[in-house]
């Protein structure tokens, strides 16, 4: 026919925060073919992580800036299970609080990003305004806005003071009405739902086949949430995974919105549980052995495999990041949609290219 046009979408593109290239084949503006082109962000992190296990908790944060704490938690949990130790309860609770804070920032970023991708500038701004509250909170707790550098193997190295706990409580109560307002907008806005409902549908079956994880799979009706394993302090709090059945952009968006509210619940549940005590255990000797560690990052199941042979350098470290699974499933969603929906669909899986490419 010769009617199809091919255009590059990315690596540098207004809709993407990160370099991802989707080469789209368009018939007029209908997408008939999509080729995912990854690897712009491949730095060789697995090699760098394996060089010195004592420094790798900092490097592992730099795999991804949006879910940095989850990365270092997964890494530290792996080392801890190699050593065979349990982190003190206070350390685990602090980890949980920080992970949920990070989930809040990540989800608010993703939500703002979706709003931006459909040209809803005001909503994007509002999401980021609320996100800024969490950002300043984590800045106060950890000393940095993005990379908290709080994790060490054996616990956390930075304690939260009683004022800090009060601060968290105060921020949460300040945030709750605002997020409720955002929830109202996201769920009710007509133009927004026109652009997200029924767009980029991923059926339950397809989600299983593509191995989707995290909010993307939960939006397609798969009630899978690694937090239910009870790592860190998740066994001490009550929550149930948020699941929707539609599998479209709207569902993915709303799952994230609901999870924001859930994160606040979890944080507020954690706060009264914090008792005085140590936050970390010192570990002796170099690690030796294998460990397989996983956490529920904002984008889904994050897996670290660590094999150590008793030297400073780890023998092998392997990451399987959630975005890798989710980004791949774009290939199932993009064909058949309109060019205008490509940014929305792409952003709705929350592609974290730095995770994907490592």
């Amino acid at each position: 026919m010769g009617r199809a046009t091919t255009i590059p979408f990315g690596p540098q593109h207004a809709a993407f925060l990160e370099p991802l290239n989707v080469t789209l084949t368009l018939e007029e503006e209908k997408v008939v073919g999509a080729v995912l082109n990854q690897g712009y962000n491949h730095r060789g992190m697995e090699h760098a992580l394996s060089l010195d296990y004592r420094k790798s908790q900092y490097i592992s944060e730099r795999v991804c800036g949006i879910c940095s704490f989850h990365h270092s938690t997964a890494y530290c949990q792996g080392l801890e299970s190699i050593y065979g130790i349990d982190v003190p309860e206070r350390g685990r609770l602090i980890r949980t609080i920080m992970m949920e804070c990070q989930r809040l920032t990540s989800h608010l970023l993703a939500l703002g990003h979706i709003a931006e991708s459909v040209g809803y500038e005001n909503l994007f701004m509002q999401c980021f305004r609320e996100r800024e509250l969490v950002m300043t909170l984590v800045n106060r707790i950890s000393g940095n806005r993005v990379h908290y550098s709080m994790n060490v193997a054996g616990g956390v190295k930075r304690d939260i003071s009683p004022e800090g706990l009060k601060d968290i409580q105060a921020t949460m109560s300040r945030l709750r009405p605002r997020l409720r307002e955002l929830h109202r907008v996201f769920s009710r806005d007509r133009t927004l739902s026109k652009r997200t409902k029924g767009i980029g549908v991923l059926s339950n079956q397809a989600a299983r086949e593509w191995g989707n994880v995290g909010p993307v799979s939960r939006a397609s009706g798969i009630p899978r949430d690694i937090r239910q394993d009870g790592f860190a302090a998740y066994s001490m709090v009550k929550f149930s995974p948020i699941v929707r059945e539609e599998g479209d952009c709207y569902a993915r968006m709303m799952v994230r919105m609901d999870e924001c509210l859930q994160s606040m619940d979890i944080i507020e549940q954690c706060l009264p549980l914090i008792k005085d005590g140590p936050v970390a255990i010192q570990m002796k000797g170099h690690p030796k052995g294998e460990a397989y560690s996983r956490v529920e990052a904002p984008r889904g199941e994050l897996v670290y495999f660590i094999r150590a042979n008793g030297k400073t350098a780890l023998e092998r470290i392997k990451l399987r990041t959630p975005a890798l699974m989710n980004v791949a499933s774009l290939l199932a969603m993009l064909p058949g949609c309109q060019l205008a929906d490509v940014p929305t669909i792409t952003v709705s899986v929350d592609p974290c290219i730095c995770c994907t490419d490592r």
């Binding site: 010195d52 004592r54 420094k55 900092y58 490097i59 730099r62 809803y120 005001n122 909503l123 509002q126 305004r129 800024e132 300043t136 800045n139 106060r140 707790i141 950890s142 000393g143 940095n144 990379h147 550098s149 190295k157 930075r158 307002e181 109202r184 907008v185 009710r188 806005d189 007509r190 133009t191």
Partner: protein, 129 residues
């Protein structure tokens, strides 16, 4: 159209925007800005140099200097933790941007927390191979 009410509300409320750089940044007390050396305490044990994940610290035992490459420091606080003599402190204020990667040289002849500013060489890029 759900944003209508909040748009109008925002229109008549004070903007959320900071006035930075007219007013100083609002930094929390525990902010990990940058590290400073109190050279009078330093024993040149090189623990900080070895612990640094990004090789931002260079200890020169002969010249009796500690060199911090500001544009390499990720502010992870490790050097502060490993220092046996509390030579190193983390302060709130962050390092400033510059027209070349900055190097701060702490030496014995300078007062506490003072440093000499040097620059790493700048590259001007390279042409396509």
């Amino acid at each position: 159209m759900s944003m209508l009410t909040s748009s109008i509300k925002n229109l008549f409320s004070r903007p959320f925007t900071t006035r930075y750089p007219k007013v100083p940044a609002d930094l929390p007390p525990g902010n990990r800005g940058r590290v400073l050396y109190d050279m009078s305490r330093c024993i040149f044990c090189r623990k900080c140099e070895r612990s640094c994940p990004t090789v931002a610290i260079i200890t020169d035992r002969d010249a009796k200097t500690q060199t911090v490459i500001r544009h390499r420091c990720i502010g992870c606080n490790t050097c502060v933790e490993v220092c046996p003599t509390e030579t190193i402190t983390m302060v709130q204020e962050y390092s400033r941007p510059d027209t070349a990667p900055t190097v701060n040289v702490f030496s014995l002849d300078l007062p506490r927390h003072e440093y000499r500013i040097e620059h790493l060489p700048r590259h001007d890029g390279r042409k396509k191979d």
